[in-house]
């Protein structure tokens, strides 16, 4: 009886505990067995459908009939895009040829000078029939005369209407298929990929050259205001990092008051400036500015640094003068025509920019000397010597031997440019020697001969004297600075107060701004730039006054690099003092460039142990030290 009772209680205890277990654990087990229900509030995400495998594809193969052949049409008649409104068949041959409608009646000075600048450019053509683009200037705001429909209008096909200043003129004719280049076009009328948006140019914008950017240092000066904001009546306010920033939800309640901000009349020295396209009332704009401030405070120093520099580059490359703006516009259109041989975007967006990096030279950035580092490439380790033999026409045998002796010399080119007949015999050299019969023009020296097969050119005059180790060392230096000119003999420019113009001196001084091209290393790209980008007038000037060519070449390289050339130790000894160029040469060139690009350097690059008190045996370039 007792055992039964004991057994009974035992069973009871067991079942009770199992009941407990089932009660407590059952739900959990149930949950395991059944798909879980979403918990309210927990993150759900997109459901994984049980029958996702059965879903059909959005398109079944063979579903699409491919029969429509007419290209998509504009929603409303008059609109244009590049394919439908520009006839590229007229643009065959070498690039964009532009015809400019001559001015009718009295025109403003600006108008006249813009016409002159296009006429002097490489794009210009005389005949409207041979032109690929017909350009119509519409900028005579002051004279009050509005242009009428031009002769070859043809519904505006292949026309570009250039409006530099907002024109008061009503449109006297339908623009039709003409492209419009103007400042601040509206979203409704602007046709992307067809029209061109220009910067707004003040009336007094310089025609040519233009002031260089105001940036004097790469990084912002500590203590300078972070943000400047244009006020209603032309003044400026600044806000600094200390100013309380608003959260970015557009609900900034209180005006920070005058304590945190300062009012100024002129554009203050600030890291950022807030430009607002719209003109709402000042208060709300200021609140906007504080929101911007909040965003700016988050920006890393590296980014600020990059932005600052890019503003300067863009200003300098495309904005600083009317001429640059116009040339940029034409270059943009030319890129559309060129298609595959257009500038890659890198060339547009890194110094020196697309106006100075010609896509006719190459479309690969690594072919240009200024993009080597960025592209991880480097110039070839060899150079071509280009020896110009002008009058009296003595074959420079000694020079050829000295240059050919360099281990880096790949070839020698002799440019025979004098009245005497070509000598039949040339010295035996280890490297190939080619003779080119020149046209007796000085500018021939900088022609991009197809026979030049290396990146580096050693430009020489037959009368120069150089030793092999001078050549070797200077070439090594050039490889470190492939975008610059590396020369031996130098000269300087200076501002001549007495004459109110630039002066030139070849005297030995503590600084220099030019190297003589009678003995200098540079990249072969500069031959292309010299021949194809310089206005014809300047090349003619060089031909007429041969000593000018040095100055011109130095100008063009300095305009690209924004840096001075480099002087390598050139052999001493008596050498003919180069004749000084015509005094007016430098001023004429500076006028054509619109500014003075030359910069001075105070250093010379010598071998590391140059004239150091160590054993000569240790020195690699000991012959450079011979007095």
């Amino acid at each position: 009886m007792q055992s039964w009772r004991r057994r009974k209680s035992l069973w009871l205890a067991l079942s009770a505990s199992w009941l407990l277990l089932v009660l407590l654990g059952g739900f959990s087990l149930l949950r395991l067995a059944l798909p879980p229900r979403p918990r309210p509030g927990a993150s759900q995400g997109w459901p994984r459908w049980l029958d996702a495998e059965l879903l059909q594809s959005f398109s079944q193969p063979g579903e699409l009939p491919e029969d429509a052949v007419s290209p998509p049409q504009a929603p409303h008649g008059g609109s244009c895009n590049w394919e439908s409104c520009f006839d590229t068949s007229k643009c065959r041959g070498d690039g964009l040829k532009v015809f400019v409608y001559p001015a009718v009646g009295t025109i403003s000075e600006t108008h006249r000078r813009i016409l002159a600048s296009i006429e002097g450019s490489r794009f210009y053509t005389f005949s409207p029939a041979g032109a690929c683009l017909l350009l119509l200037l519409s900028l005579d705001a002051q004279t009050g005369e509005c242009s009428s429909m031009p002769l070859q209008w043809n519904r505006g096909r292949n026309h570009l209407v250039l409006r530099l200043h907002p024109a008061p003129c009503p449109r006297t004719f339908q623009l039709g298929q003409a492209m419009v280049a103007e400042a601040s076009p509206t979203v409704d009328s602007f046709r992307p990929g067809f029209d061109v948006a220009l910067p707004f140019l003040p009336e007094a914008h310089p025609l040519r050259g233009g002031a260089p950017g105001q940036l004097r240092q790469h990084s912002p000066q500590p203590g300078v205001a972070l943000l400047a904001l244009e006020e209603e009546r032309g003044g400026w306010r600044t806000a600094d990092t200390g100013s309380s920033a608003c959260p970015w939800d557009g609900r900034c309640e209180q005006d920070p008051g005058p304590g945190q901000t300062q009012r100024q009349e002129t554009l203050p020295n600030a890291t950022f400036c807030l430009i607002s396209g719209h003109r709402p009332e000042a208060a709300s704009r200021f609140l906007q500015a504080l929101q911007v401030l909040a965003a700016l405070q988050e920006m890393s120093p590296a980014r600020v640094l990059a932005l600052r520099q890019q503003t300067q580059f863009l200003w300098d490359a495309y904005f600083s003068s009317v001429e640059k703006v116009i040339h940029t516009t034409l270059e943009v259109i030319q890129d559309r025509i060129f298609g595959t041989s257009a500038h890659p975007s890198l060339l547009w967006n890194s110094p020196p920019g697309a106006l100075l990096a010609l896509s006719t030279f190459s479309t690969s950035p690594q072919d240009f000397p200024f993009y080597y580092l960025q592209q991880g490439s480097r110039p070839e380790g060899r150079f071509s010597a280009l020896i110009w033999v002008g009058p009296p026409g003595q074959p420079p045998l000694k020079l050829i031997q000295a240059v050919a002796g360099s281990q880096h010399c790949a070839q020698i080119l002799v440019l025979w440019s004098n009245e005497r007949p070509l000598p039949s015999r040339w010295p035996e050299t280890a490297v190939p020697l080619t003779v080119i019969d020149g046209h007796r023009k000085v500018s021939d020296r900088f022609y991009p001969y197809s026979t030049i097969r290396t990146d580096a050119i050693l430009s020489l005059d037959a009368r120069s004297s150089l030793s092999t180790s001078e050549v070797d060392f200077a070439f090594l230096v050039w490889q470190s600075f492939p975008e610059r000119m590396v020369g031996f003999l130098t000269s300087s420019h200076f501002w001549d107060e007495a004459h109110g113009g630039w002066g030139y001196t070849a005297e030995r001084t503590n600084e220099f701004s030019m190297v003589l091209t009678t003995a200098a290393f540079y990249h072969r790209y500069y031959h292309t730039l010299f021949t194809h980008s310089l206005p014809k007038a300047l090349r003619t000037l060089a031909d007429e006054a041969p000593t000018c060519v040095d100055v011109l070449m130095n100008f063009i390289v300095a305009a690209v690099t924004k840096l001075p050339p480099i002087k390598a130790p050139g052999g001493p000894g008596p050498r003919p003092k180069p004749p000084a160029p015509a005094p007016d040469c430098i001023n004429q060139i500076a006028a054509a460039f619109g500014h003075m690009p030359l910069l001075s350097s105070r250093l010379r690059l010598d071998p590391v142990l140059f004239k150091d008190p160590v054993s000569v045996q240790r020195k690699k370039y000991r012959s450079l030290e011979k007095p």
Partner: protein, 728 residues
């Protein structure tokens, strides 16, 4: 239950009478019950952590079970798409909040089935691709399930293919979405827009202000800066894995693989084939395939059968010709195969053209020039072709990156919805946007190339001057001499003494040398070498002269000249004592060299000019553990700086002025130290360590140094700008 209560009451009396056997039995029983309880308790809490770490919480339902919504015939219809919409007019940025991570948040509406008054469904509920696309968004960082925090809204109404939709009813379905508000901030995905006969190039469903990510936009319908152009999905690209093929010439020069081309276009292409023979291949559908062979995977030329898309890898250029629609799925196949697409589709907006530079990876030929296409392609230099091919490889590489982060996504050729989100993200947070280069540069270009942070050619004005920073510990007498010497340099604008000794106070103000420029003493919290390179707020000039407290042998002319040289090379280290790294062929590692050599690759920062930005880089952007390593070893901070600058600029140092003996009677100068054998071993170790952290040897060896123009020239000394140079 009753019995159990009884038992419980009687329990205490019972237990003492129980036999040991039973006692053990009961204890075991209760332990089991207790364990069971604990386990149950555990179960109550355990699932939380499981749920959050995997897919358990995601609803597992059938598509057939989604709720049905009836759309009355008179329910509102949105306005047609507003062509003038731009980000600043039609997009509400304030919904995007200010997020510290600069990331937008995307909400997806729950899936519904829409039917009209008669119970007929409005469209297919959802397609496989749209389901995957939404899944990918939901798995990404952009996703939020909180409709109030969302910046972008993605309807689950599938409009990928316009042909499967009832246009009016679909629009009505959109309009009744809970946050529709004229479509503001709503993003629709469409790949096959338009329908016969006119084939509009954008989705015809009235959508008001909604953003459209569409395949096949033309310039007429694309709202620049508002819509996003996306590629048309190709199922083949997902199914087939093609082997990688390097750049270089291929068997065919030009290949056309599209089927169903318009006869006129086909005639043009075949004419090219006749003219240029073997190098052009024009493929078409196969007509005589045996049973069971997938016709989508085969292409034929006459009787020759080719595998598709494998055949695309055999060609340099592949034609992508427009059909009724501008966007063609073949573009995806061609890109995947690494064939350079030749896009012949006037006015077509190429996918992601807002950020991608298609010039680098494709050739666009106007339709009217189709017959010239061969000569146009022939005129492209081989190197440019190879660059394009390289650019194409970047796409698969990027895809891998993304799919590693998101394994659900490999079914789409591009993680396009993420790109869309990123593009829109960039518009909303432009200041945090990814740069053009980051979008477009293949990783291969990054290797070996540098992007110099000081890229603008600029010669800072002399008037700015430089700040001298003297790191010192306790050599006060020598420090004062250095201060006095340096203060004679005309361009010095401030002197900063970094007092690195925590146990000793710097001398009283009155004891310091009186100099003409401000002198500041900064006390450091710890004696670390990296204190020398900290970007102190006190540095107001761009040029910094780092100088040791024992460098008293440099003349004022030499220092001034050094500053002038720095102005001409502001992105380089410009210093006095030069050093060299060499490859030790016996030991197979780098070696440090301080002998009188013809080459330099480093300058010691015991006396060197550099841009203050490098202080910022040294302190905050030094790769790996180098900074701590240097502080721990109390050595090689100068070598680390040389590595850092060379690595970021790709340029060599400039050593200025002739060699001197850097020795002074009362102190261990740099040269004195350098002679020490263990010192040399340590320095070599540093070079090897840094090279391995940088993953490369960034130092550049040069054979030149900078001297004044007239240095040692036969010229009157008193006329030279820097006469006192090189004197020992």
């Amino acid at each position: 239950m009753c019995a159990s209560v009884k038992y419980n009451i009687r329990g205490p009396a019972l237990i003492p009478r129980m036999k040991t056997k039973h006692r053990i039995y009961y204890i075991t029983l209760f332990s089991i019950v207790l364990l069971g309880l604990i386990a149950t308790g555990m179960f109550q809490f355990w699932p939380h952590s499981i749920e959050s770490s995997n897919d358990w919480n995601v609803e597992k339902r059938s598509i057939r079970d989604v709720p049905v919504v009836r759309l009355p015939a008179d329910s509102p219809i949105p306005e047609r798409g507003d062509l003038s919409c731009r980000m600043h007019t039609c997009f509400d940025v304030y919904r995007c909040g200010f997020n510290p991570k600069n990331k937008i948040k995307v909400y997806i509406y729950a899936l519904k089935k829409y039917v009209d008054d008669f119970g007929v469904s409005v469209s297919n509920t959802i397609s496989r691709e749209y389901n995957e696309l939404l899944m990918a968004i939901s798995d990404s960082d952009y996703y939020t399930d909180d409709i109030n925090r969302a910046c972008l809204f993605v309807p689950s109404i599938d409009v990928l293919n316009q042909n499967t939709l009832r246009i009016k009813e679909t629009a009505q379905a959109m309009a009744q979405l809970s946050r529709w508000d004229r479509g503001t901030n709503h993003l629709l995905f469409n790949m096959l827009p338009g329908g016969p006969p006119d084939y509009n190039t954008a989705l015809d469903v009235p959508r008001d202000r909604a953003l459209l990510a569409g395949g096949g936009f033309s310039t007429w319908t694309y709202r620049q800066g508002y819509d996003v152009s996306i590629p048309v999905y190709s199922p083949l690209s997902a199914e087939v894995d093609l082997p990688e093929k390097g750049p270089g010439p291929r068997q065919y020069f030009l290949l056309s693989s599209q089927v169903g081309l318009h006869p006129e276009y086909r005639e043009d292409l075949e004419a090219l084939q006749v003219k240029h023979g073997e190098s052009v291949l024009v493929l078409d559908k196969c007509t005589n395939l045996s049973e069971g062979v997938l016709s989508v995977r085969k292409r034929c030329h006459k009787h020759q059968v080719f595998d598709y898309p494998q055949v695309l890898q055999e060609a340099t250029f592949c034609v992508v010709l427009r059909g009724a629609r501008l966007g063609q799925a073949v573009l995806s196949d061609v890109l995947q195969a690494g064939c350079v697409p030749v896009v012949i589709a006037d006015s077509y907006i190429l996918p992601f053209s807002e950020v991608l530079d298609w010039k680098r990876a494709s050739v666009v030929v106007p339709e009217e020039k189709m017959s010239d296409v061969y000569s146009i392609l022939q005129s492209i230099p081989q190197r440019q072709i190879e660059e394009m091919q390289r650019q194409l490889f970047m796409e698969p590489a990027r895809r891998e990156n993304w799919s590693a982060a998101n394994h659900q996504m490999n079914s789409l050729i591009w993680p396009r919805e993420q790109w869309d989100s990123q593009i829109i993200n960039d518009r909303i947070y432009p200041y945090a946007a990814i740069s053009y280069e980051e979008w477009n540069d293949p990783p291969a270009v990054k290797w070996g190339s540098v992007s110099n942070p000081l890229f603008l050619p600029l010669i800072p004005p002399q008037s700015q001057g430089f700040t001298a920073i003297v790191l010192t510990y306790d050599r006060v007498e020598s420090l004062f001499r250095v201060i006095t010497e340096v203060s004679k340099v005309p361009s010095l604008s401030k002197l900063l003494v970094v007092w690195n000794n925590q146990n000793k106070n710097p001398p009283e103000d009155s004891l310091w040398p009186k100099i003409r420029v401000p002198l500041k003493v900064v006390r450091t919290a710890e004696n670390k070498l990296s204190n020398r390179f900290f970007p102190y707020d006190e540095i107001e000039t761009e040029a910094v002269l780092a100088i040791d407290d024992d460098i008293i042998m440099l003349t004022s002319d030499e220092l001034q000249f050094g500053y002038e040289v720095w102005r001409e090379f502001p992105d380089r280290l410009v210093g006095y004592p030069g050093r060299l790294h060499l490859w030790d062929h016996e030991m197979n590692k780098w070696k440090y060299e301080s002998e009188w050599t013809n080459e330099v690759s480093m300058v010691l920062t015991g006396a060197a000019f550099y841009h203050k930005y490098f202080n910022y880089l040294y302190t905050y952007k030094m790769p790996g553990d180098i900074k701590n390593w240097v502080d721990a070893h109390m050595n090689c901070e100068d070598i680390a700086m040389n590595f850092l600058v060379a690595n970021v600029t790709g340029k060599a140092v400039i050593k200025v002025t002739p060699r001197k003996k850097f020795k002074c009677p009362e102190c261990t100068a740099i040269d004195g130290l350098s002679l020490d054998q263990t010192h040399m071993v340590e320095r070599s170790e540093c070079i090897n360590k840094f090279a391995s952290v940088f993953g490369t040897m960034p130092l550049k060896v040069v054979e030149h140094r900078a001297d004044p123009v007239l240095y040692k020239d036969d010229f009157p000394e008193k006329l030279k700008s820097f006469p006192n140079i090189g004197s020992l």
